[in-house]
Symmetry: C2
Subunit: 198 residues, 2 copies
């Protein structure tokens, strides 16, 4: 993708420019968190104009998700699950997660994102970025009360399930059918979404 | 603790001997898993007699837990929670977990154990060792049916809670009172222990 002609200086529209912006974004988000990093600052670090950042990555949220190197955009992925409203949303969201994680092509890059979460800079990315960019909008789209409490609680069960099924590969969770995973975990997550919480 | 006089050869009863056994155990458990590593092999690697391993670490389980470098023995810790039987066991176990994790002196060493779980050799330790040595006996002590399914499922929620409250420090889970944590999570864990599962 990279041509040697593009190497000196950064020309708008070259693959180098996009890569330089992404590298600067990763550094900035890791060092300053999602809230602390600015598009203007990232543009400056990359030696380009802010407008060019917006040309490649429409919003700061898009830039953040690109910096996380997720193999897909969790916001688009969840749209069908959210469209049906809050009734049964837990099961539909779980089935989306399972379809993605059970895909061998996607699992490896997802695993590296999960591993990075327990790195020293990982928790900061999760707190500062993943919550406002991903979890928050999901709660709002579902129209649940107290999304700022419910969505992190949902995340605590989904994340624990992911760790046991895909990272630790603990049996019988690792080899269980998607239907069994749903039978066990959907009632928990549905309660976290809509049940009485303190 | 180590004297230079103890450095050459390994004398029974010296702190060096215990440290050498532990180092050999850590390597063996990481390389071969809990099931694959033997006390005899570890003794050989440490250049001591098997009897000396049993002198310092009564059983293979004890040696495994010492190799994990847990700041306390989860088996002893859970005894009072298990003594009351399965009714309300989820709340009692959760309160034990919270009292340990909320102790600033214990949290740091516990965090390093959690981080090591997502290291390449961590999952193997969890699968091969943590389950038979810790989770299994807890299920048996509670007298629940299908402990081999229920205990890993319990672990998936407890682990997710630990990650969000202590590693990622995601609000509002991170600053929530122990009572609120219990109100949210005890019903989940009690259902995993005694409710209908597929």
């Amino acid at each position: 993708m990279t041509t040697s002609a593009g190497r000196r200086g950064r020309r708008p529209g070259s693959p180098d420019t996009r890569a330089a912006i992404l590298a600067a974004a990763r550094q900035a988000f890791a060092a300053k968190g999602y809230a602390g990093a600015s598009v203007r600052g990232i543009a400056g670090d990359a030696g380009v104009d802010s407008a060019l950042v917006h040309h490649y990555f429409k919003t700061k949220d898009d830039l953040f998700l690109a910096a996380l190197e997720l193999p897909l955009d969790p916001r688009e992925l969840l749209i069908p699950a959210l469209a049906g409203g809050v009734d049964g949303a837990a099961e539909r969201m779980l089935r989306v997660f399972l379809s993605v994680w059970d895909d061998p092509d996607l699992r490896l890059p997802l695993l590296s994102v999960v591993r990075s979460l327990v790195d020293p800079e990982g928790p900061r990315l999760m707190r500062d970025g993943f919550v406002p960019v991903v979890l928050g909008p999901v709660g709002v789209a579902l129209g649940i009360d107290r999304p700022e409490l419910r969505m992190p609680v949902v995340a605590s069960q989904v994340f624990g399930l992911i760790i046991m099924r895909y990272v630790v590969a603990l049996e019988p969770i690792a080899s269980m059918s998607a239907d069994d995973v749903v039978a066990i975990y959907a009632p928990t997550i549905q309660r976290y979404l809509t049940g009485p919480l303190p």
